[in-house]
């Protein structure tokens, strides 16, 4: 069984999300800050009358966020369970049609927080494609592990 994945780059990694969840891509979106929100939430975006939560994937993943790529910040809007999210990514890549045979679930020793965000990887000829777990993105409780 093949799945269609939409891929993008964040902090040097190649991530993939189900293409069916992607609503649209946008460049230079205006993000409105929300006081008291978790640190990985950049704020709210107005996507034609719908509110989208802007998520800084680098912060969420605990990746190096010093290389601020604010110049050409890209935002992928995705529909998850009842919530519209906007993922701030460095770059978008191609669509991959991947087979289940190439799928490996993430190693158990990867650490709790990565484990919850990445459901597994697809072995591509020239690298690994990390499949993002959209439901895990919206969890706030585990952020304590790496924020402090």
């Amino acid at each position: 069984m093949n799945t269609l994945l939409f891929s993008f780059r964040v902090g040097g990694y190649l991530f993939g999300a189900p293409a069916s969840s992607v609503v649209e891509l946008s460049r230079e979106v205006e993000v409105f800050r929300v006081p008291g929100s978790p640190p990985f939430v950049k704020g709210l975006i107005n996507l034609r009358g719908q509110l989208a939560v802007a998520i800084d994937l680098k912060k969420k993943m605990g990746l190096d966020s010093t290389t601020e790529s604010s110049e050409r910040q890209l935002c992928i809007f995705m529909e998850t369970t009842n919530t519209l999210i906007g993922l701030m990514v460095d770059d978008v890549h191609e669509m991959f049609n991947v087979g289940i045979s190439d799928f490996v679930s993430s190693p158990v020793n990867l650490g709790e927080q990565v484990d919850e965000l990445v459901s597994g990887v697809y072995k591509l000829p020239n690298g690994l494609l990390h499949v993002i777990n959209l439901a895990g993105l919206l969890k706030t409780n585990e952020q304590k592990n790496f924020v402090h």
Partner: protein
């Protein structure tokens, strides 16, 4: 209307306005979708054609009358109303409000290009959008009459059960209200009516004796007033007996007897809304559980409404509920603070004050919190930008509240207190469409939602109650015992106070016993004390009173639980504890005073003391009665004597 929109799109294609076009497309799709749905229901081709010609969004054919000719009416008569899912309507409302915003962006664009044709097209879009918005909002409206139609039966059932004769009248059944609001007021309204019959209307014999008509009446009125829907429930019953309310409030320990005298009827009415409050002695099928009016109030305030009860003894009770027209739209004040926009619901807004820099001396520092004297009120001030705790975008014009320039103060009322929110700029009052926050951002949030402004900016709507709670955390004066929200009476004064009985205790000097632990004060002859089983007891009012020496309890000298008697007459403070009556022996009884709830800590920690307080130049030890009694009375091994008593 769809056809018109479609036609308008074509000239627009030439104009370079992708945004507007995409929105128009979307709306068109939605409309087409609904049209399909309606076609399913009717399966009449001609009717479908008709629907396109007029407003296809109408859920009920009745609405079409105003624009339709007679033959149109006839065609509608033969059709049943269409059922449309609320979700679809919500999406439509969303799309239409987006269309409105897109139109707003289109208008200045059209004015820039002096092209008559283009301008004409834009103005037609403008008109159509307004019409569309108006219609679509009305699709969610329903009349209160639909809700009321069930009430006569309820009245009949309840009055039969209570053996009373009651009739109900309605005025203004046609008043329209958002569907969700109608659902929200259903239960509160039912409860109020039950209350009217059970508590308000008297039995027939009593009514006749008072010269009232035999049959009691309840009158329900609905009307629009100033963008709100007002629902009034009047009955001609006996009204509220404030003496009973007062007695119950004292019994439930909401207030003390001393406070009760000072309360006005309006203040007493507030007790009706407290959880667990019922004037009924016994629980019946209909009322007496003490749950009810508090739930009514919570339900109504949760939809942004208010409830007011006024009563005239033996003439009846009037209950006025005011609720907003729709849940989705509230009037709010737009302000700017720290570079972001926020909306303050008008419901919480009392007034706006602009304080010039020359008047800055009206500000005073009150234990670290700036306080503004507004008429006869002391208004603590809080910076909204501090409360939301965001790094300010750009330079913040105002710095230290005591030394800065002009101040914009929004006077806010919430949770029974008032405070001032200092904002950088006051923009305007505006109706805002509330969009709920994504779940991720909801926990502990200061915001009840967000709204999208005309220019596409997002502004967060402040949840004033949450903000008020935060100001308490913010102020440096913290009450030691957290005052309950349900104690508005205590909040009236700046410092919450507690009534205490001052006594002298040997070795401890002046001490204070919270008044809740004082039921009586008495003097007894020392000779009357009976020493029995290592305890001192006393016969008092046909009961056996256990005598305890406070100074020994404080010393924790449990070795001897017998008191040392030095005097012939003993001063006793008597407390009827749930375990039996207790008498505390003190050196002397002084007076009853009000001490601030906030206490100075004892250092080092002292067993049995809550803390210390200053009364004039005297130092008072405030006793921690629960702690003291826990050791002396509640310990199971010391209980046998009491068990035989109770």
């Amino acid at each position: 209307m769809i056809a018109q929109l479609g036609a308008l799109k074509n000239p627009l294609n030439a104009a370079d306005e992708d945004m507007v076009l995409s929105v128009l497309n979307e709306v068109e799709n939605e409309l087409a979708l609904e049209e399909e749905a309606s076609a399913d229901v009717e399966a009449v081709a001609s009717a479908k054609h008709l629907l396109i010609e007029s407003a296809p969004l109408e859920v009920e054919p009745v609405h079409a009358t105003e624009e339709g000719a007679a033959w149109e009416l006839k065609a509608y008569d033969s059709l049943a109303p269409i059922k449309v899912s609320v979700e679809l309507l919500d999406t439509l409302i969303n799309n239409v409000s987006e269309l409105v915003l897109a139109r707003n962006r289109l208008i200045p664009f059209a004015e820039k290009f002096v092209d008559k044709n283009f301008l004409n097209t834009v103005s037609t879009i403008d008109k159509l959008t307004i019409e569309l918005q108006d219609k679509i909002i009305r699709t969610r409206m329903q009349t209160v009459g639909q809700l009321w139609s069930k009430l006569p039966r309820l009245v009949r059932d309840v009055s039969l059960h209570c053996e009373k004769e009651v009739q109900i009248f309605f005025t203004g059944e046609d008043t329209e209200l958002d569907r969700t609001l109608l659902d929200a007021i259903k239960d509160p309204l039912t409860h109020i009516i039950r209350n009217c019959i059970d508590h308000g209307i008297e039995p027939v014999s009593e009514r006749l004796a008072r010269g009232k008509p035999r049959v009691g009446t309840i009158h329900l009125k609905a009307s629009h007033d100033n963008g709100m829907v007002v629902i009034e429930v009047d009955d001609d019953g006996q009204g509220i007996d404030y003496e009973i309310v007062k007695a119950k409030a004292i019994q439930k320990k909401f207030i003390t007897e001393f406070e009760a005298h000072a309360l006005s009827e309006e203040e007493l009415t507030q007790f009706i809304f407290m959880p667990g409050f019922s004037t009924r002695e016994s629980v019946t099928e209909i009322s007496g559980r003490g749950v009810g009016m508090d739930v009514v109030k919570t339900n109504i305030t949760s939809i942004g409404g208010t409830i007011k009860i006024s009563s005239r003894r033996y003439q009846g009770v009037q209950c006025v509920i005011r609720i907003p027209l729709t849940l989705a739209i509230i009037p709010a004040l737009l302000v700017r603070a720290g570079g972001e926009y926020y909306a303050i619901p008008q419901l919480n807004l009392m007034e706006l004050v602009r304080l010039k820099s020359s008047a800055a001396n009206e500000l005073e520092n009150f234990y670290g919190t700036p306080v503004f004297r507004l008429r006869d009120m002391l208004l603590p001030l809080f910076h909204l930008s501090d409360l939301v705790d965001l790094e300010p975008k750009g330079a913040r014009p105002l710095d230290d509240p005591l030394t800065m320039g002009a101040l914009n103060i929004a006077v806010i009322q919430s949770l029974g207190t008032q405070f001032g929110l200092v904002v950088d700029e006051v923009l305007r009052l505006q109706e805002v469409v509330i969009k709920p926050l994504p779940t991720l951002l909801r926990p502990g949030s200061l915001f009840s939602g967000a709204t999208i402004l005309g220019d596409g900016q997002i502004s967060l709507i402040l949840d004033i109650d949450q903000v008020a709670l935060k100001t308490r955390v913010f102020s440096r004066v913290k009450p030691l015992i957290p005052t309950q929200e349900a104690a508005p009476l205590l909040n009236k004064s700046e410092v919450p106070k507690q009534k205490m009985l001052l006594v002298s205790i040997s070795g401890y000097g002046l001490s204070a016993i919270p008044i809740e632990y004082v039921n009586r004060m008495d003097k007894v002859a020392a000779s009357k004390i009976i020493r029995s089983a290592h305890r001192d007891v006393l016969q008092y009012d046909q009961q056996v009173l256990r005598v305890l020496d406070l100074s020994q309890m404080l010393n924790q000298s449990s070795t001897s639980s017998q008191i040392e008697i030095y005097e012939e007459q003993l001063s006793l403070v008597i407390y009827f504890s749930p375990q039996g009556p207790l008498g505390f022996v003190v050196q002397d009884i002084d007076q009853i005073v009000e001490l601030p709830k906030e206490l100075h800590r004892t250092s080092p920690f002292q067993y049995g003391l809550l803390g210390m307080s200053l009364l004039g130049d005297r130092l008072v030890n405030v006793l921690n009665m629960p702690e003291l009694l826990q050791l002396e009375v509640l310990q199971p091994q010391t209980l046998p004597l009491f068990e035989s008593l109770t």
